[in-house]
């Protein structure tokens, strides 16, 4: 797993995807923070996190699209299959490398609450909840993107499909309220990423939310393992 993790992390910065992702993420983050907090004289970090998610679901597929698609296209999976390493190790190694790249960008945004603290009081639990929620949420998004990448050899298809699925999971919230009524509506709302993420932005560490994101992540990692195991071809 460690070897795959290091290789993937290095691949992000030899193929430029890592640099492009970090540049775009930090540029948009800086813009949102400047306009939403500094220029509006708003000391609430929630404003930044509420806006950044729509950017994140657009950017995460850029990180995940090549993970397995490229390996399948270049037939390099054959190398991994012939090595003394488990498929679970390969999937988790790739997942953690992608999460690390995301966390690199997120680490830079830790400056924002520090800047806000310079101007006035900042609620520690709200900041912590937002960062914790964001990491849990992105973990689930990466696992979904990883799974979709395992389904196709085409990176563009992987990226577009991932974005569509993440967007749909985000919008399930409003669909549950406006389109589907009653108990089914509540169930649909429960599946929404937004429903569970929102509580973290208020500094509430609801175990249900933690379990939801961790389950979603684990489920799609297991699906990825099953797909890769089933896709062993001659």
């Amino acid at each position: 797993m460690r070897a795959v993790y290091i290789k993937e992390l290095r691949a992000y910065f030899t193929s430029m995807i890592g640099y492009i992702y970090l540049s775009v993420f930090l540029l948009i983050s800086g813009y949102i923070f400047s306009t939403g907090n500094l220029m509006s004289q708003n000391g609430d970090i929630k404003t930044y996190f509420a806006s950044i998610f729509s950017i994140v679901i657009f950017l995460v597929p850029i990180l995940t699209m090549r993970l397995f698609s490229e390996e399948r296209k270049l037939r390099t999976l054959q190398l991994l299959f012939s090595m003394p390493v488990s498929i679970g190790g390969i999937v988790v190694g790739k997942f953690l490398a992608t999460l690390s790249v995301f966390c690199m960008g997120l680490a830079v945004t830790l400056l924002y609450p520090l800047i806000l603290a310079w101007f006035g009081p900042v609620e520690g639990m709200v900041v912590l909840g937002n960062y914790f929620g964001m990491i849990l949420l992105v973990s689930a998004c990466i696992a979904i993107g990883l799974f979709i990448s395992a389904l196709t050899e085409n990176q563009i298809i992987a990226a577009v499909l991932s974005y569509s699925v993440l967007l749909a999971l985000w919008l399930l919230d409003s669909a549950g309220q406006d389109i589907v009524k009653g108990l089914p509506g509540k169930f649909v709302s429960y599946l929404s990423l937004n429903t569970h993420y929102r509580e973290f932005t208020y500094g509430i560490f609801n175990p249900a939310g933690i379990v939801f994101f961790l389950t979603l992540t684990a489920l799609f990692l297991v699906f990825s393992i099953m797909v890769i195991d089933g896709r062993k071809t001659a």
């Binding site: 795959v4 290789k7 054959q78 071809t233 001659a234």
Partner: protein, 337 residues
């Protein structure tokens, strides 16, 4: 021997790993791979002993690559099992794969990595210690002669060098069993010779399974041949045994001083020659004869001596007696046609 020495020896024998006593490197039992209605490998049974160099032959689509992929754990068999050095590939793939170095037909290389990075990645996958990795990479690079290419990107390498890098990564960690799928495919004659030399040098320390279409290469390197046809194993023996077993028309070619009439008369008197062809030789004053033998040269008395003395007695000296067994190509075509 002292009592304590005997005791020590007994203890040391007991603590040796089971693998130490195991001479069978790989066992395939009823190995089958089915894609829909197509059976790519059909109930293959064979055992490969330590130190053997086995050639896997077959026409395109015979199931060689599928078999190799199953042996290396790259694809699971539909039924049957593979045991590598005591470890079952289905039950304990990680342990089984530790003993295998695999070079597929198209070397699986990352174009965006340098040769050094690629080999370092493989060394890490093989769980080599930090201190061991660099020395192991030095060793394999020297072995396949790519030391000067270590900083080059894979995408910049020629087909021949890519093949060598693929070979180097198969050798990392010095696995006991090397499985090489068409290692000389697409190489120029000089590169083919280099690769053949390399394989010959590896014979000492590794058990090797090699598939190739170049039969001369197989016959010069391998001690045993497995021939596949439509997913089935149709022959399993040494090149010599295979030649003898398929020598139905084992023949001798002779050049004899004398007229065709005289030579024919003399050879007709020799017992054990069911078929005889004599024609004029391009060399003036000589005749060329082709003699079919009953049961080949290995059975009973060597008929060459009888023929020699019969001709010598008739003052028709034989200046050449040559066994003309069917070539590997002829046997291959006969078995796979």
């Amino acid at each position: 021997m002292q009592k304590t020495d005997i005791l020590t020896e007994q203890i040391s024998l007991q603590i040796l790993p089971l693998e130490y006593y195991n001479t069978s490197m790989l066992t395939a039992s009823r190995l089958t791979k089915q894609y829909g209605n197509v059976i790519s490998a059909n109930s293959l049974d064979f055992t490969i002993q330590k130190g053997e160099v086995v050639g896997l032959l077959g026409a395109n689509g015979a199931g060689k690559s599928t078999t190799m992929n199953m042996l290396t754990g790259c694809i699971p068999p539909s039924s049957g099992e593979v045991i590598v050095f005591g470890s079952n590939m289905g039950e304990d793939p990680i342990q089984a794969k530790r003993h295998i170095g695999y070079l597929p037909e198209i070397p699986p290389l990352y174009a965006d990595m340098s040769v050094n990075e690629q080999l370092m990645f493989v060394a890490q996958l093989r769980s080599l210690g930090k201190g061991q990795r660099n020395s192991e990479i030095d060793r394999v690079c020297e072995l396949v002669n790519i030391t000067d290419m270590r900083k080059r990107m894979i995408k910049q390498l020629s087909k021949g060098y890519r093949q060598r890098v693929g070979m180097a990564q198969a050798l990392i960690g010095s696995p006991q069993l090397l499985i090489l799928d068409e290692p000389t495919a697409g190489l120029d004659p000089k590169q083919i010779m280099d690769m053949r030399q390399l394989i010959l040098s590896l014979k000492e320390q590794h058990t090797i399974i090699i598939s190739s279409h170049i039969l001369a290469e197989i016959s010069s390197v391998c001690t045993r041949l497995l021939i596949m046809k439509n997913g089935k194993l149709v022959a399993d023996s040494s090149p010599e045994q295979l030649g003898n077993a398929h020598a139905g028309g084992n023949q001798l070619a002779l050049r004899i001083k004398g007229s065709t009439q005289r030579v024919r008369t003399v050879l007709a008197t020799v017992r054990g020659i069911p078929e005889l062809q004599v024609e004029e030789s391009p060399e003036p004053g000589y005749s060329d004869a082709v003699v079919s033998l009953e049961g080949g040269l290995e059975t009973g008395m060597d008929i060459r001596e009888t023929i020699f003395f019969a001709l010598a007695g008739a003052s028709c000296p034989a200046v050449m007696i040559k066994s003309t067994k069917p070539t590997l190509e002829e046997i291959f075509i006969r078995l796979t046609a």
